[in-house]
């Protein structure tokens, strides 16, 4: 059984390819943190209940703690380390710094990746649980504070930086 329980995979992280031989049990989060040197994604709960491990998988935000690394073969993973290109912070990262969208910073990697994914979802016209009119034929829902809060609710923050996070995201959306 031993040979069956490991897999050799290519993991694409922030445009670099990593060839890894992994225990099938290894989650994408642990592979990033322990094998490819990306400790930006954080383990807050390891059970999909906090959002600190959020990364983008082929552009969509997912929880890396519930993603088995072996299933990510062939996908493009973007972590918080990959958000800023060539040393220049993205506007949303700058907004987080300027508006103090964090305190301890532990949930921040997840909040940022989640925000980037969420803004793309909104741009694609996806509704949320607080979207009043789901009808796809009208105008896309405007991204107000209530929409941002609902869409970002999968990212817990115990320091209580929510109001500044929402402000930073709204600024980015404008």
């Amino acid at each position: 059984m031993t040979n069956d329980t490991r897999s050799v995979i290519s993991l694409r992280v922030n445009d670099a390819t990593h060839r890894l031989c992994l225990d099938n049990r290894r989650t994408l989060l642990d592979a990033l943190r322990e094998d490819t040197g990306h400790t930006g994604p954080k383990k807050g709960c390891d059970h999909g209940q906090c959002g600190a491990c959020t990364v983008l998988l082929d552009g969509r935000r997912v929880l890396s703690c519930l993603t088995l690394a072996v299933t990510a073969e062939g996908a493009e993973v973007t972590t918080v380390e990959g958000l800023a290109g060539d040393g220049e912070l993205r506007p949303i990262q700058q907004a987080f710094v300027r508006l103090d969208g964090f305190q301890c910073g532990y949930c921040t990697s997840g909040q940022l990746c989640s925000a980037v994914g969420m803004l793309a979802e909104h741009a694609a016209g996806w509704p949320s649980a607080v979207t009043a009119d789901l009808c796809p034929d009208g105008p896309a829902p405007a991204l107000d504070a209530a929409e941002v809060r609902e869409r970002m609710s999968g990212n817990l923050c115990r320091c209580g930086a929510y109001p500044s996070i929402v402000r930073a995201i709204l600024e980015e959306a404008r």
Binding site: D23, R25, R26, D30, R33, E34, G37, H38, T39, G40, P41, K42, K43, G44, C45, D46, H47, Q49, C50, A52, T79, V80, E81, L83, A84, L89, Q93, F96, V97, D100, F102, Q103, C104, G105, Y106, C107, T108, S109, L112, V130, A145, V148, R149, E150, M152, S153, G154, N155, L156, C157, R158, C159, G160, A161, Y162, P163, S164, I165, V166, R167
Partner: protein
């Protein structure tokens, strides 16, 4: 700088809103937390915790897992190093630290073994597979006021007081409120689970650990393992929140040190989220009875605040619920009592705004009930009972700006338009209500040391064993050092987060920044002295004793507006405003974040948080974020916080702590708003659906 100082007039980094110095690192994933530190040859420890609430370990079948892939070994009470029973904390020796010393299980979630493996997966698989046989004994985890095991709480602080004749004053009162309030077990729930990595470098024990004060923790750890303090070094670069739960020498660190010692290589122990709930300290449940009597014009005659909280026989602790009652309002008679009820639970410890958060929920709810019965504006009731000196101590207030908080807050919130009768406002199908609370939180400083070196390039290296849990300490101390040295912040190189940097207080008790700042300003004063030494060190221990006795507190007024759907009993906080008097504000951007964060914590306490125990097994049934709810984005409105001018004359730069006061009062303000919306009092937190639901 000595005793009551005047307002410093320095260059001007203090008071300026400035983003955090580590901001870039935190938004790029570059900030390293304890479990992020790369360490060669690392092994991983998985903690095994007791699944029973009281009893003994009869057997741990190590042989059953020893040959599992990657397993290096198991540490339990039969082979663990002996620990010093004298080791403890602020409250004295702490049996909660004496892990793996015997077969006794004092509470559910007690660590009973550590499985060490080459990879996390291997260690956890073996930990899950490890057979443990228990001898289960009857337990008692049911807390309530009047529990037969109750005894007077330690009087180290918040001891009992008797001023005037409470019974006579109550008898003479036109109106008396006599009600009982409860708060459940609450968990600090920092987003970063406790993690420690330990290894030996020769004779020296090295550890990277998530904690609130590397120096204090290193001292405790050295005592625990009977090591000279200089042989222990603890570092902690970034900490993913603490809120009290990382104020102690945590199980992760004790077990990592045991494993590093036994296996002769670096070992990382990271608690799982359920273990953070089960094995790191929670706020104890409280059960409080308050009697307040007043004349018809609202002048208080008596406050009687009798509170009980739970603790463990393993360690002393005080949940100082009645502290506020001694300073917030003037009354000719004040009586407080605090009862501790020992139960078979993990030793409770300080959680953000200990004592004050549950205590103010009771006191400020009772004040609102008094206003209701007097048919008086709850704001006016508070203004009418403003004391001139400490109502119990008789001491002058160092500075007291509660009235400014109340008045400015009321203006900003639009309080004057409020109809004080309940259940009068509707918007569509929703009931709307508003409420307020006044609060205080004690302020001060503890001894710390700091040193400053003038570098050849004209910069200064400022060294203090502070830690930054997200409070903004790095940024604040940089500004304080710059002003104290009369240079720009770019000239300051700050080193913190390392026990080798000398004795220092921890990030706790709302005294971190004040304590560290004092040491830095002392050192800076020496540096600017006539001798102009290259390196100076200052120790504030002697200065603290010279501070004149005063009532020293930060103050705030919190205003809340809620909606309640009477059909579904859903409560939503729609507006939340806090006015704060927290001394001189070092960095308005970060200070606002901190007090708003505290108010989010108070909102979460009001509506969501509750550690639930199984009535049969005594164990927590919700040790995870799906079961133990903390407020999410959608629960939190755009909170406003403002600061009124304030200055603490006893502390350098005029600062008061701002780390905890944000948590105080918010729960009562929300509960009072829910009453205003529905007409029903919420005397037990959290304000759950079933408690609001109308038939």
């Amino acid at each position: 700088m000595n005793a009551e100082s005047s307002v410093p007039t320095a260059a001007g980094a203090v008071g300026v809103a400035r983003p955090r110095v580590e901001g870039r690192a935190k938004v790029t994933g570059g900030a390293r937390y304890s479990a992020d530190e790369p360490v060669p040859g690392l092994a991983f420890g998985a903690v095994v915790v007791s699944t029973i609430t009281r009893g003994r370990v009869l057997d741990i079948d190590v042989a059953a897992v020893q040959d599992m892939p990657g397993v290096l070994g198991v540490i339990d009470h039969r082979n663990a190093p002996r620990l010093n029973p004298e080791a403890g904390h602020f409250f004295g020796p702490d049996g909660g630290l004496r892990l793996l010393q015997d077969d006794v299980i004092p509470h559910a979630g007690r660590p009973i073994a550590l499985v060490v493996g080459e990879t996390p997966e291997q260690a956890y698989a073996a930990a899950q597979a490890l057979p443990v046989v228990y001898d289960v004994r009857p337990h008692d985890t049911e807390f309530f006021f009047g529990h037969p095991a109750g005894r007077p709480a330690s009087a180290l602080f918040d001891g009992p007081v008797d001023v005037g004749d409470v019974d006579a004053e109550l008898a003479a009162s036109a109106v008396v409120v006599d009600e009982r309030y409860g708060t459940p077990e609450e968990h600090c729930s920092a987003m970063e689970p406790h993690s420690a990595t330990a290894w030996w470098e020769g004779e020296r024990l090295q550890a990277v650990d998530s904690n609130q004060g590397p120096y204090q923790i290193a001292v405790t750890l050295a005592t625990l393992f009977c090591l000279p303090p200089e042989r222990v070094r603890i570092r902690v670069e970034h900490v993913g929140g603490g809120f009290g739960s990382k104020g102690m020498c945590g199980p992760q660190l004790i077990l990592a040190v045991m494993a590093a010692t036994r296996f002769g290589r670096p070992v990382r122990v990271t608690l799982t989220r359920d273990q953070v709930f089960l094995a790191t300290a929670q706020r104890p449940a409280t059960d409080q009875v308050i009697r307040i009597g007043a004349d018809a014009d609202g002048r208080l005659r008596a406050i009687d605040h009798v509170a009980a909280f739970e603790l463990s026989p393993l360690a002393e602790y005080i949940e100082g619920c009645t502290e506020l009652t001694k300073t917030l309002y003037a009354a000719p008679a004040i009586r407080t009592r605090l009862t501790a009820v020992p139960l078979d639970i993990l030793p409770p410890y300080s959680m953000r705004a200990p004592g004050a958060a549950p205590g103010s929920f009771a006191l400020e709810s009772a004040m609102d009930e008094l206003a209701e019965r007097l048919e008086m504006d709850p704001l006016e009731l508070r203004l009418r009972n403003e004391p001139v000196v400490g109502p119990v101590s008789g001491l002058p207030f160092s500075s007291r700006n509660l009235v400014a908080c109340l008045r400015q807050g009321a203006r900003r919130f639009g309080w004057a338009d409020r109809d004080h009768r309940p259940r009068m406002r509707r918007e569509g199908s929703l009931l709307v209500g508003t409420g307020l609370a006044a609060t205080s939180f004690s302020t001060g400083a503890f001894p710390s040391t700091a040193s400053i070196t003038a570098e050849p390039d004209g910069t200064f290296t400022v060294v203090v064993a502070a830690t930054d849990l997200g409070t903004g300490a790095r940024t604040a101390l940089t500004a304080i050092a710059a002003d104290a040295l009369e240079v720009g912040v770019e000239k300051i190189g700050l080193r913190i987060s390392d026990s080798d940097l000398g004795p220092a207080w921890s990030a706790g008790g709302s005294r971190g920044t004040a304590s560290w700042a004092w040491a830095i300003t002392e050192a800076a004063a020496k540096m600017r002295g006539p001798e102009r030494p290259a390196t100076v060190t200052a120790d504030t221990a002697h200065l603290l004793g010279e501070l004149p006795s005063r009532e020293r507190h930060a103050y705030s007024a919190v205003f809340a507006e809620v909606t309640v759907d009477p059909a579904t009993s859903e409560v939503r906080v729609r507006r939340l405003l806090g006015l704060f008097a927290v001394g001189r504000v070092i960095n308005p951007l970060m200070a606002r974040s901190q007090v708003i964060g505290g108010m989010v914590g108070g909102l979460s306490m009001a509506l969501h948080e509750e550690g639930v125990r199984d009535p049969v097994s005594g164990r927590h049934v919700n040790p995870d974020f799906a079961g133990y709810h903390i407020a999410a984005h959608a629960d939190v409105p755009d909170i406003e916080a403002e600061f009124v001018p304030d200055h603490e004359p006893g502390l350098p730069m005029g600062v008061k702590g701002a780390g905890e006061i944000g948590n105080v009062g918010t729960a009562a303000a929300i509960a009072n708003a829910v009453w205003h919306a529905t007409g029903v009092r919420q005397r037990q937190l959290p304000i759950r659906l079933d408690r609001v639901l109308e038939d």
